[in-house]
Amino acid sequence: MDFAASSQGSWQGVAEATPALAIKILIAGGFGVGKTTLVGTISEIRPLHTEELMSERSIGVDDTSGVEGKVTTTVALDFGRITIREGLWLYLFGTPGQDRFWFMWDELAVGALGAVVLADTRRLQDCFPAVDYFEQRGIPFVVGVNCFDGARRHEPAKIRKALGIAPQIPIILCDVRVKESVKEVLTTLVTYAVKGVPAEPYPAH
C-alpha cells in the first residue's frame, strides 16, 4: 500500500471552502411504473447497485431475540447520480416497491429534498401508498404521470382529483425514457421543494 506514503498530502485540503453536498431525491411509485427507467435515463452513470441486508426484525417478523445481524434476505437498492460540479451531486434513489420494505423508505426519506411519485394512469391506485407516505411526512413531492405508448391520456386535473392531492402539487405528464422529459420532472421537483411553487407554468400537453 505505497499510496499511503506517496500520496501523503495529496488529499489534504481537498475539502473546499464550500462543503460537499449530496442532494437526495426519491423516485417512488408502484411496481413496474418506470422508476428504474427514469433513473437510468438521467443518470450519468449506469445506475449503481448496492444492497441492504435485512434482519427478520426489519421485515416485520416478530423477533424478540434481539440478535443483531440475523439476516434473512437482501433488498437491492439501485441509484443514479448526477454531478452538478465537483462536490455537488444529485442522487436518485428508486424506492423498493414492495410494502414490506417500508423500513427502507424511512431510511431513504430522511434528509431527502423531495420525491417524484410516478403514476401509471392504468393503475393509478398503485401510487396511493407513496402519495400518503410523503404527505404524512411533509416531504415535498411532484407527480409524474408516465405516458406509455397506448397509455390513456388523462387530464392533470382529473388525476389530481383522483389522487386527492393539493392544488399546488405539480403534476407533470412525462415519458421516463426521454431525457428532456425527465429533466423537466426533476427541475419541477427541485423548484417546488425549494421555492414551494412551480417556477414557471409548464404546458398542459
Binding site: 481537498v14 441492504e52 429533466k183
Partner: protein, 116 residues
C-alpha cells in the same frame, strides 16, 4: 432481491465482527465521507478499510462508497463507523435540506439539470 445462500453474508459479517450497526452517531445514506489521514500502521487495517480511505480522499457520499466497494450498505456503514472512531475519516453531520440549499446552490442545480 438476490437469492444468494448464507455463505457470502457470513463472510460479510466477518468484516464487521458480526455487527449490523455502526458505532457512534448515525449517518445518512448520502452523508459525505472524507479521509482525514492514513493510519500510522496501515497493516493493521483490513483491505476494505484501506479501500475506503483510498476512495474517500475525494469527499464521497456513503452510498457511493458502498457501491464502489461492492458491499451492502449496512456493512459499509459499520466499516465507516470504525474508521471514524479511529479518527481516519470524517462523516458530515446531516444538515436540514432547507438550510443546505441556498439560492446559489439552487441556481447551480437548476442550471446543471437543464444543461444535461
Amino acid at each position: 432481491m438476490t437469492t444468494e445462500g448464507p455463505g457470502p453474508l457470513i463472510r460479510l459479517f466477518g468484516l464487521t465482527k458480526g455487527r449490523a450497526r455502526p458505532v457512534g452517531e448515525p449517518f445518512d445514506l448520502v452523508a459525505i465521507v472524507t479521509t482525514l489521514r492514513m493510519p500510522a500502521e496501515p497493516t493493521d487495517l483490513i483491505p476494505e478499510h484501506l479501500e475506503v480511505l483510498k476512495v474517500c480522499r475525494r469527499p464521497t457520499p456513503v452510498a457511493d462508497v458502498a457501491a464502489q466497494l461492492k458491499l451492502p450498505l449496512n456493512i459499509t456503514r459499520v466499516i465507516l463507523g470504525d474508521l471514524r472512531r479511529e479518527g481516519l475519516v470524517a462523516i458530515d453531520r446531516p444538515r436540514p435540506v432547507a438550510q443546505a440549499i441556498d439560492e446559489r446552490i439552487y441556481r447551480e442545480v437548476l442550471h446543471g439539470l437543464r444543461s444535461l
